[in-house]
């Protein structure tokens, strides 16, 4: 191997003089190199609609399989709070593991799911478009079920009470009723 004598010397370890010169050069400088980060998509914004579509997909498949959020969280070994946020499209899954576990329990294609969730780089332009369309079309249009209507009415009633006559509320509080 054609190495210079000087290089052999360098191979043995950096000299004190070299290190001191470099200390001065490096002082106050950032050193981050981003080629890989760019390749892995860290520098790009996430896929538009990806979170929403991913969350909707998880929610609808879960409901279709008759599972509650709690049941899915336990079966997939995912934090309940994370799953709730994912279903609402408010958070991307923190880790690839979450996506794998959900894919396994819900019998979905893990690879596509990773792309949709923004865990893997989306390769498929069609998937991106389909994700946005799916997110939009899966917004519910049908009338509420009886159970949903009862839950809504009960909650609206609570809201009405809360925002009602402040004096009455204060009075109720004072009287302890």
């Amino acid at each position: 191997m054609a190495r210079t004598k000087e290089l052999e010397h360098n191979r043995g370890g950096a000299s004190r003089e070299w290190l001191e010169k470099m200390d001065a050069l490096e002082e106050g400088c950032e050193i981050s190199v981003g080629g890989l980060a760019s390749e892995l998509g860290f520098l790009r914004p996430p896929v538009l609609g990806g979170n929403i579509a991913f969350g909707k997909l998880i929610e609808l498949v879960r409901r279709d399989k008759g599972k509650s959020v709690e049941k899915l969280a336990i079966e997939a070994d995912v934090e309940l709070e994370e799953l709730l946020l994912i279903e609402r499209g408010e958070a991307a899954p923190e880790m690839g593991r979450t996506v794998f576990q959900l894919a396994e329990v819900l019998k979905l294609d893990a690879g596509k799911l990773m792309e949709l969730a923004g865990v893997a780089e989306p390769r498929d332009e069609e998937l991106k478009e389909a994700a946005v369309l799916f997110a939009a079309r899966s917004e519910p249009m049908e009338k509420l079920t009886k159970a949903e209507k009862q839950a809504l009415e009960a909650f609206v009633k609570v809201l009405a009470e809360k925002s009602g006559d402040d004096d009455k509320a204060a009075e109720r509080e004072r009287s302890g009723s």
Binding site: M1, A2, R3, E6, L7, N10, R11, G13, A14, S15, E17, W18, L19, K21, M22, D23, L25, E26, E27, G28, C29, E30, I31, S32, V33, G34, G35, L36, A37, S38, E39, L40, G41, F42, L43, R44, E94, M95, G96, M114, V119, A120, E121
Partner: protein
């Protein structure tokens, strides 16, 4: 995997013994990132509380390597990590296959491409939080390894990399030549160290 004794400089100026681990796989870098992750989270929260601007936040605090584990597994690269005080202080990853020089004196000749260099979150200066790096010379020690790898492979010391915008000054000072912003790398600046530049770098400028 090989481990060599090196030195780092602590914030108080004292030079301390450290170890350079060579020959890790990209996937093994996840263990390093896992050690850095809680500190990154803490810094992100502090930056949020201070309502720091985007410019005041180190970009790499927001990267989630764990999320990219399946992709890291597929990458063929060599990694170096510096360990000191029982913690990982900095890491570098290089690729050597199919990477060629863009410099007019060596166009098309092979080089070592540095994919990733990062200092531990406690080795970042974050002015808005009053944080000064715990250890310095992480960048110089790692880049020296890239140049030596290039010599070992008979690439004459040639090294290429894409720097984050805030690190451009460092690579310019090390003697890297700027080749402009690359559209296919999110407009990061491409830098190259030539054969002569590598010699000057190893000589200490």
């Amino acid at each position: 995997l090989s481990i060599r004794e090196i030195t780092l400089r602590r914030a108080d100026g004292v030079v301390v013994a450290a170890r350079l681990h060579e020959g890790l796989t990209p996937e093994e870098l996840l263990a390093v990132e896992a050690q850095w992750s809680p500190e990154r989270k803490r810094l992100r929260q502090e930056l949020d509380e201070r309502k720091a601007t985007r410019a005041e936040r180190p970009e790499s605090l927001y990267w989630n390597w764990e999320k990219k584990a399946p992709l890291l597994r597929a990458i063929e690269a060599a990694a170096w990590v510096i360990e000191c005080d029982g913690k990982w202080q900095g890491a570098m990853l290089t690729r050597t296959a199919l990477r060629v020089s863009r410099h007019q004196d060596s166009t098309g000749k092979p080089l070592v491409y540095v994919d990733f260099v990062e200092a531990a979150p406690w080795n970042l200066d974050i002015a808005v939080l009053g944080q000064k790096r715990t250890f310095s010379r992480v960048g110089s020690v790692l880049l020296r390894e890239a140049v030596l790898q290039s010599h070992d492979l008979e690439f004459e010391g040639r090294v290429g990399l894409h720097s984050l915008s805030k690190a451009e000054g460092f690579y310019a000072k090390l003697g890297f030549v700027q080749f402009g912003y690359d559209a296919d790398k999110e407009d990061l600046m491409y830098f190259e160290l030539t054969k002569e530049g590598a010699r000057r770098f190893l000589d200490g400028g």
